[in-house]
């Protein structure tokens, strides 16, 4: 097991290095620089600014210097926000994005799990098709469509909920969480339906039924735990996906999270911020994927054995 984890951790290093290298050189190829603005910048001023941010060095030297900074845990100063470090900016955005991701996951598990469980109880009937089709909406209606539609309905027509912000007005976290979570609800519905179907056909469930337990007790007391197992393994990659995918929702609802910072940084050519967020998000994604692999391995004895023996 430890071997498996350490191998996977080692594998993550070239991935991250590739991310850093590609991003570093990619942003430099982009037309336009961090100090361009509608007003022409006086060449002397531009030169002074470039010097302050080490941009006057040869590109490769900038690259090695940046790697050096990274090794010491420093993402460097932000270009767009003088006086703030990228670490500070990420520190400001991460809690918001993580909170949004957490609520979205809750929404996904609640809606998706419910739909999957209901569907599994009477497979291939209307009780199966209807919830599963509804859950499919999440896949077919992307967040940038669902978000505005929810805003239109609940924010503007009914005026029940606020349409933007995060923690400003009571209830402003509801629509973004639903919007972000619904895409994953469909996957969770599929997983939980399949898981439940498998469990419901097991002997111990039949025994429980034979004992005369009411159906809802059979489901809640016996079937759910096993049936929702596949969902648990999905949560790791799902959360990673939510983190990386949150920028649409953050843009629509004006939420000051990491995703929005990233998109803004890309548009502003805030080199250090682009790099910092990319590296940070990539690390998170790699870690979450690793975590879910470990969990999957841990829960599946056959796989565990295989991995333990080395592959």
């Amino acid at each position: 097991m430890w071997r498996f984890i350490s191998v996977r951790l080692l594998q993550a290093i070239p991935v991250l290095l590739a991310v850093i290298t590609v991003t570093f050189f990619l942003v430099r190829v982009a037309p336009g620089g961090p100090f361009d603005s509608e007003k022409a910048v006086i060449p002397e001023v531009k030169a002074a600014l470039e010097k302050q941010y080490r941009l006057d060095l040869p590109l490769f030297q900038q690259y090695t210097a940046y790697l050096g900074d990274l090794a010491s845990g420093e993402f460097g100063p932000s270009f767009k926000y003088p006086g703030r470090s990228v670490n500070e900016l990420i520190g400001a955005g991460l809690p918001v994005t993580a909170e949004l991701g957490f609520y979205a996951l809750l929404v996904a598990v609640l809606i998706g799990g419910l739909a999957g469980v209901i569907a599994s109880l009477r497979p291939n009937t209307a009780q199966d098709y209807i919830p599963m089709s509804l859950a499919m909406i999440g896949i077919c209606m992307p967040s940038f469509l669902l978000g505005p539609l929810l805003v239109l309905l609940f924010g503007i027509e009914l005026e029940w909920l606020p349409v933007s912000g995060w923690g400003d007005i009571p209830g402003d976290k509801i629509l973004p969480s639903i919007t972000l979570g619904s895409g994953y609800a469909a996957y969770i519905a599929r997983l939980s339906r399949a898981g439940m179907l498998e469990v419901l056909s097991q002997d111990y469930i039949r025994t429980a039924r034979a004992k005369g337990l009411p159906e809802w007790q059979v489901v809640t007391k016996h079937a759910l735990r096993g049936g929702l197992m596949p969902v648990v393994t999905f949560l790791g990659p799902a959360f990673a996906g939510l983190l990386a995918g949150s920028f649409v929702v953050e843009t629509i609802f004006q939420i000051p999270g990491l995703g929005r910072f990233y998109v803004q940084a890309a548009f502003n050519r805030d080199y250090t911020m682009i790099l910092g967020t990319t590296v940070f998000l990539s690390t998170l994604i790699v870690l979450f994927n690793l975590l879910s692999d470990i969990m999957a391995a841990w829960m599946n004895p056959r796989l565990r054995h295989q991995l333990g023996g080395g592959s």
């Binding site: 022409a40 002397e44 003088p82 006086g83 004006q254």
Partner: protein
């Protein structure tokens, strides 16, 4: 581990309710603010910096205006000058020097007195080449400041800033500019506190923590209290401010809100005292409201299409004028833009005080067709493919799509649209790799803020326009002139030449649109969007404004 499922479900729901909805409704921020003397303002984007020599965007400047004070302030109603740190000032006989007499009571927010030396040090910092001050141009009115900022001279004594005594500061001007005083009212020329800056890094460090709330020292009517990224900047009354008895508010909270739609919604739900933007599609609704909270007025900005006069067919004057005269600005403004702008065929913004706008490029489809035929493209025949560049934005796209259609309709010429992301777009303009490009310019209440930029090889003249008569008016006729009305007439003449040469197609002049709660006093709209926070008061008894649903 053996969590009963219903119990787990209840827990999850409880967490959701607590996290998503848990908060008491209570009174709105506006009502609360009215009572406590706290003003809540929508303020565009997250401020980048509050250092007057680093900041460059208007949201930053709006906050900086509360916590820094330059020599001169304006009355927000008529934009007449009034004392800032300087109690009074006088021009020398020949108009080449200004002497400022500082208020002996003026202090920084830590109690240190403000002296003429503070100004000299601050300004020298601002023009030090290593500082990389993006707005260094506002200092160019001072003799040799330009040369010093470019590193052409390095003797600070040569720069025309003279400390006469601790409370007298003399400025030698580069030329006798009657509009020179305007510059000294910019917050970019406010003094900074030397000891604080030097305690937190080198003088020229952009990346310096001196503007963080725990370190900050300023000299405005307010001082920085708190700054939460992407959430708010809070400023509180500065007890050391020389005129603090005339400051009505206890505190102000600036909220970074990028979308006009969001800002308007927050205003409507009583979260903001004032919104600096109104979404185009809401303007009509607000106009129809009884006791509308919206004020509208001209704003010193113009929106135009820059033409690259080196690229055929735009190197032909008749083509340029034909395109300019085929734009039906009135229709554009009243349909697509819903009267949120002032249609204008002038480069200098409409509403410029004491200024007469020459009429040259008014909409005239017949004349436009004639000019196009004269240029060799009768009814658009033989017209080469050309492109109109604009940066990604709903507004720019709307204007471009409509203008494209007008050119097709009135001239039968095809112009394709090329939309570019902002920085790519700037790069394209900088390299003059365009034919027609969207531009906007926010100036000041002086025509010089617009026209001086169009001189040959001027810093933002990227059209290729170069006209000896125009340059001669700006450099040789206007600069030595001291009579303001003659100067205005000369500027009108200069604009006429500019428009006749048509290196740009004016589309419209900006309008200021602001929503203000009825409880707010002293926050009038003016042509430059200038706010003097000293004037702002809140009526503690006024209710929050509510939207009235009108019967059609």
């Amino acid at each position: 581990m053996r969590l009963c499922a219903p119990f787990a479900g209840a827990l999850v729901i409880a967490a959701l309710v607590a996290g998503l909805g848990g908060c008491s409704p209570g009174e709105s921020r506006v009502v609360q603010g009215n009572r406590e003397g706290v003003l809540y303002l929508g303020n565009g984007t997250e401020p980048q910096s509050l250092d007057p020599h680093v900041l460059s965007s208007s949201p930053d400047a709006r906050i900086a205006g509360a916590i820094h004070e330059p020599l001169i302030m304006y009355n927000p109603y008529d934009l007449s000058t009034e004392p800032g740190v300087a109690q009074r000032w006088e021009f020398s006989e020949d108009g080449t020097e200004i002497t400022f007499y500082l208020n002996p009571d003026a202090r920084f927010s830590n109690g240190d007195p403000i002296t003429a030396e503070d100004f000299r040090w601050s300004w020298m910092r601002a023009i030090t080449p290593e500082m990389g001050n993006l707005l260094v141009e506002v200092f160019y009115g001072i003799r040799n400041a330009q040369a010093y900022s470019k590193g052409e001279i390095d003797d600070p004594e040569a720069v025309g800033i003279r400390v006469i005594d601790p409370h007298t500061l003399r400025v030698e001007l580069a030329f006798p500019d009657p509009f020179a005083l305007l510059n000294f009212a910019y917050v970019y020329m406010a003094p900074v506190h030397r000891a604080t800056i030097e305690a937190h890094g080198a003088m020229t460090d952009r990346y310096s923590p001196w503007t963080k709330p725990e370190n900050f020292v300023g000299n405005g009517p307010f001082t920085l209290e708190d700054w939460k990224m992407q959430r708010f900047v809070k400023v509180k009354r500065n007890p050391y401010y020389w005129d603090t008895n005339n400051v009505a508010l206890n505190a102000m909270v600036f909220r970074p809100i990028e979308s006009a739609t969001t800002e308007e919604k927050m205003f409507r739900s009583g979260q903001l005292h004032s919104a600096a933007m109104v979404p185009n599609n809401k303007v009509k609704g607000y106009r129809e409201q009884p006791d509308t909270p919206m004020v509208e007025g001209p704003y010193m900005g113009s929106y135009y299409y820059l033409l690259n006069t080196d690229r055929p067919p735009l190197d032909n004057l008749s083509v340029r004028r034909a395109l300019a005269m085929a734009v039906d600005r009135q229709t554009l403004a009243s349909t697509v833009l819903q009267d949120t702008v002032l249609p204008s065929a002038n480069y200098v913004a409409l509403g410029m005080p004491d200024y007469e706008h020459p009429k040259v490029l008014e909409f005239n489809p017949t004349e436009a067709r004639r000019l196009l035929a004269e240029a060799g493209f009768p009814n658009g025949e033989g017209w080469p493919p050309i492109a109109l560049n604009y940066n990604t934005s709903e507004n720019h796209r709307s204007v471009a799509v409509a203008v494209q259609q007008m050119w097709k309709q009135h001239l039968n010429v095809d112009v394709s649209l090329a939309n570019q992301e902002w920085k790519v777009y700037l790069d394209t303009i900088d390299n003059r790799d365009y034919q027609i490009a969207r531009m906007g310019w926010i100036g000041d209440i002086a025509p010089s803020a617009f026209l001086d930029r169009m001189v040959s090889d001027g810093p933002t003249n990227r059209s290729g326009f170069s006209n000896a008569v125009f340059d001669d008016i700006i450099f040789n006729k206007i600069r030595p002139e001291k009579d303001k009305s003659k100067i205005m007439a000369l500027y009108t003449e200069a604009e006429r030449i500019l428009l006749e040469e048509t290196p740009l197609i004016p589309i419209y002049s900006y309008k200021v649109k602001r929503l203000t709660q009825p409880s707010v006093k002293g926050l009038p709209s003016n042509q430059t969007g200038y706010i003097n926070y000293k004037y702002v008061e809140l009526d503690p008894d006024a209710p929050a404004w509510t939207w009235q649903t009108l019967d059609p």
